[in-house]
């Protein structure tokens, strides 16, 4: 079965794109089915404007998911992303309030991302604590710090040039945040596919012992992976506070699992070493589209939670059935 896929894949670049994992194809099919259903249910769904809306909505989750994909390929999870995002937004808003230039605040946000990622990565790489535990801890620590910056108060952003990140348009029609998300996805995809660092990420996530014996500094790779995840969270923070026009210290509380859901939906293995960035893109799109469709149908958000959760389990279930793992017993 696998060999057949291989041969088909040799034929063209389009075939190659789908060759290694069948997961991506089945996700594309699931996505198309979802779109067809919503097209029938709502006349507003299948329009360019609506899809740009979906993209805008997806951009925050998307940028974070790109980073967490790297962490998960390494076999670790980053649950502290929303908290990192919030520290970044608070930093940006407070600096803008003091009249500092927007460009400088962007650098400061990036620094916050690097710092938070360094703490996570350091604990994982040096002390060999599993990522899920490290980030469960730092998630709360970072959140506490975010609240402390303003004693829990919201900070308004009045800088008009800063608003461009979340609300600006390129060529008059395409929201800048979609371009930003696409750029982040492309950069991560490039790193994974065309650099030695990307190869090491897959190797370390696939088998750390083998990687170590092949001369890879496994700790460094894990460390840098977590830094990437942190920086992506901070970048998502820039979009968030620009769209909202304010920095709110409670941003994203309770939504920590959404990003992880999208990545798992996209077929990235929780144990590391297996997954594709294209899967993550579709995972993010599926969740954002369901959200959008249900809003169009004016369904209560409580239903959305039920559907989101069910879609995640169904998608993973499909994969389990397809891989034949159930037959082994």
């Amino acid at each position: 079965m696998k060999m057949k896929e291989e041969k088909k894949g040799q034929e063209g670049s389009f075939g190659k794109f789908f060759q290694q994992s069948g997961t991506t194809i089945s996700l594309v099919i699931v996505y198309i089915i979802i779109c067809i259903i919503f097209t029938f249910l709502s006349e507003y769904f299948l329009t360019v404007k609506n899809f740009l809306n979906i993209g805008t909505y997806a951009s925050i989750t998307g940028v974070m998911a790109a980073g967490v994909t790297v962490a998960m390929l390494l076999g670790h999870i980053d649950m502290s992303q929303y908290a990192t995002l919030t520290i970044a937004t608070m930093t940006v808003a407070l600096m803008l309030q003091k009249g500092m230039p927007a460009g400088l605040t962007i650098l400061a946000a990036a620094a916050v991302g690097v710092l938070c990622g360094t703490i996570n990565g350091g604990l994982i790489a040096v002390f060999k604590i599993p990522g899920i535990i490290v980030t469960m801890g730092t998630m709360q620590v970072f959140r506490g710090i975010a609240y402390l910056t303003t004693n829990g108060n919201t900070v308004m952003i009045h800088d008009s040039s800063f608003g461009f990140i979340g609300k600006g348009y390129v060529f008059g029609t395409i929201p800048f945040c979609i371009v930003l998300m696409a750029a982040v996805f492309l950069i991560i995809a490039y790193i994974l596919k065309y650099t030695n660092f990307g190869r090491k990420i897959f190797a370390v996530g696939g088998n750390e012992q083998v990687s170590y014996l092949s001369g890879i500094r496994t700790g460094t790779v894990k460390f840098l992976g977590m830094v990437i995840s942190g920086v992506c969270a901070a970048a998502a923070g820039l979009i968030t506070c620009s769209q909202v026009g304010a920095a709110i210290p409670s941003t994203g509380t309770g939504s920590e699992m959404e990003v992880l859901s999208a990545v798992i939906l996209g077929g990235v293995s929780l144990s590391g070493g297996k997954g594709k960035i294209s899967g993550t893109v579709i995972g993010v799109l599926i969740l954002a589209t369901i959200q959008n469709g249900m809003t169009l149908l004016s369904l209560q958000s409580f239903y959305q939670m039920i559907i989101n959760g069910s879609v995640l389990i169904l998608a993973v279930l499909l994969d389990v059935i397809k891989s034949g793992a159930l037959k082994r017993e």
Partner: protein, 496 residues
């Protein structure tokens, strides 16, 4: 004497290897039978079939003349066959009593664990094996020897009829060994059948009534202890014909490349040797002798506590495999699936990973060059794979092994260490590995090869070093190669 256990014509095939070929074994009540053979002779496989961990492809097992079918370990335990494996299995955080009675804890009328009874029952068993500890002692606080005695006590907790002990003395000192032997003799006197596996000749002569020798998965012979000499046993163990190996004469080694001086680690006690360019040094030793530890120390995987390692006369400080690789040392590990290959990754990605940094050109991998190099070595090593992108887990054992070797070929290395490179691969693939070693030699690399098979190590090496209990106990030049000599060194007997 009453036959308590009979295994008839047992065969077992693993992918590429016939591990057991029609082996029969008879055990009488009250008898201590020693099972003897080199690593890979089939002793452990035979015992795993007896314990129910493996199923035989062919053959039958009779317990007291009654045919039994082994499906899983739990069932065989119910039939009162207890196998104590080389690798101990216990739960570190529980007490001795809980470990021994796991799954069958005594319950009182309130459905609570009856600790009084548990304590008393455990104490009785511990007294039997001569372990003077409180039954509630947590296992993690015990020494390895104590854990070993506990495992035996556990085997005794059932009304055991057949007890198998696989290398039970590897972690015991002389006094503890004597306590164990006393126990074994008592059990035999009670009419139980005991199968005793060991590499230690003196122990076998001391404890057993009868000795059975296996070799290459076949039954070679049985003899009553006392009617056979060590020399005869060694002959039975190693008397193999050399067929697949073309012994190359007349290599001309160059200068010394690798020098190891007074190397000390946790299990290595002062080892000194050197390897020349274009020379193959064979490293022989039985399981647990320290041979793997030695090469892992050279490669930077195990910490070194003393001594020095030099390459081309330069003293090295190797703290990790990365350092070793930088100095030109390559290591092909024993466990290809857990140490050699990232199974989820493709053939291409696995084979280029060691030298991936050298393929990076500024911001981009030179994918063309990578493909050319990988293709070149797939062809040279004749790795059979549908494509470069096939996950390595889909390849056969022999092809996987060649991929592990291929990982190190993309760049010039000075020293190449192969740990059991032909383990579990078929004859054809073996021949290709030997051929490759020959080529590496001609290129002027210094080669170290660990092997458990004496014909193989004699066929390939220029010189053989024998390791026993962390020391080199013997060294032979090609002219003096003799299986009996090597085996004598390996079991720690200095003189013939």
């Amino acid at each position: 004497m009453v036959k308590i256990l009979e295994m008839r014509n047992i065969s077992k095939r693993f992918p590429g290897v016939l591990a057991l070929d029609g082996v029969s074994l008879t055990l009488h009540a009250g008898e201590i039978l020693a099972l003897l053979g080199e690593n890979g002779a089939g002793k452990s496989t035979l015992m795993k079939i007896l314990s129910g961990a493996y199923q035989a492809d062919q053959g039958e097992i009779f317990l007291k003349e009654e045919k039994i079918i082994s499906k899983n370990p739990a069932e065989m335990m119910k039939k009162n066959i207890a196998v104590m494996h080389q690798e101990l299995s216990y739960l570190n955080d529980l007490s001795i009593a809980e470990n021994i009675f796991l799954g069958k804890l005594p319950i009182n009328k309130f459905f609570q664990v009856d600790y009084k009874k548990l304590r008393a029952d455990t104490k009785r068993l511990l007294d039997m094996v001569g372990l003077d500890l409180d039954p509630m002692t947590e296992v993690s606080t015990m020494t390895v020897a104590q854990k070993q005695m506990m495992e035996i006590a556990k085997a005794l907790s059932a009304e055991v009829q057949v007890l198998v002990l696989d290398e039970p003395t590897s972690a015991l000192n002389e006094t503890e060994v004597q306590i164990l032997f006393g126990l074994i003799r008592r059990l035999a006197a009670q009419g139980k059948g005991i199968i005793y596996i060991s590499h230690k000749m003196d122990e076998i002569f001391e404890i057993s009534h009868r000795i059975q020798v296996l070799r290459d998965g076949r039954h070679i012979g049985t003899a009553h202890t006392g009617e056979i000499t060590t020399g005869e046993l060694v002959n039975m163990m190693v008397g193999r014909t050399i067929d697949t190996i073309c012994a190359k004469e007349g290599r001309s080694p160059g200068d010394v490349v690798l020098e190891v001086k007074n190397l000390v680690t946790a299990r290595i006690k002062d080892i000194t040797f050197s390897v020349r360019a274009g020379e193959v040094v064979g490293l022989y030793g039985l399981m647990g002798s320290g041979r793997t530890e030695l090469v892992e120390a050279i490669f930077g995987k195990k910490p070194v506590s003393g001594g020095e390692i030099r390459i081309d006369g330069k003293k090295l400080s190797i703290r990790s495999p990365r350092d070793a690789i930088r100095e030109g040392i390559a290591y092909i590990p024993r466990e290809r699936r857990s140490e050699g290959l990232v199974l989820t990754e493709s053939v291409q990605h696995n084979m280029s990973i060691v030298h991936i940094d050298k393929l990076q050109k500024f911001l981009k991998l030179d994918l063309k060059r990578e493909k050319t190099l990988v293709r070149e070595w797939i062809q040279k090593l004749q790795i059979k794979t549908p494509s470069l992108h096939t996950p390595v887990k889909n390849l056969s054992g022999g092809n996987q092994q060649k991929a592990v070797i291929g990982k190190w070929m993309m760049d010039e290395m000075k020293v190449i260490i192969l740990n059991e490179p032909t383990r579990g691969i078929d004859v054809g693939a073996k021949a290709e590995v030997y051929h490759l070693i020959e080529e590496l030699c001609q290129k002027g690399m210094a080669v170290i090869m660990i092997s458990s098979e004496t014909p193989e190590i004699m066929g390939v090496s220029d010189r053989i070093l024998v390791v026993h209990e962390g020391r080199i106990t013997g060294e032979c030049e090609r002219a003096e190669f003799k299986q009996e000599t090597i085996m004598h060194y390996a079991i720690g007997e200095k003189s013939l």
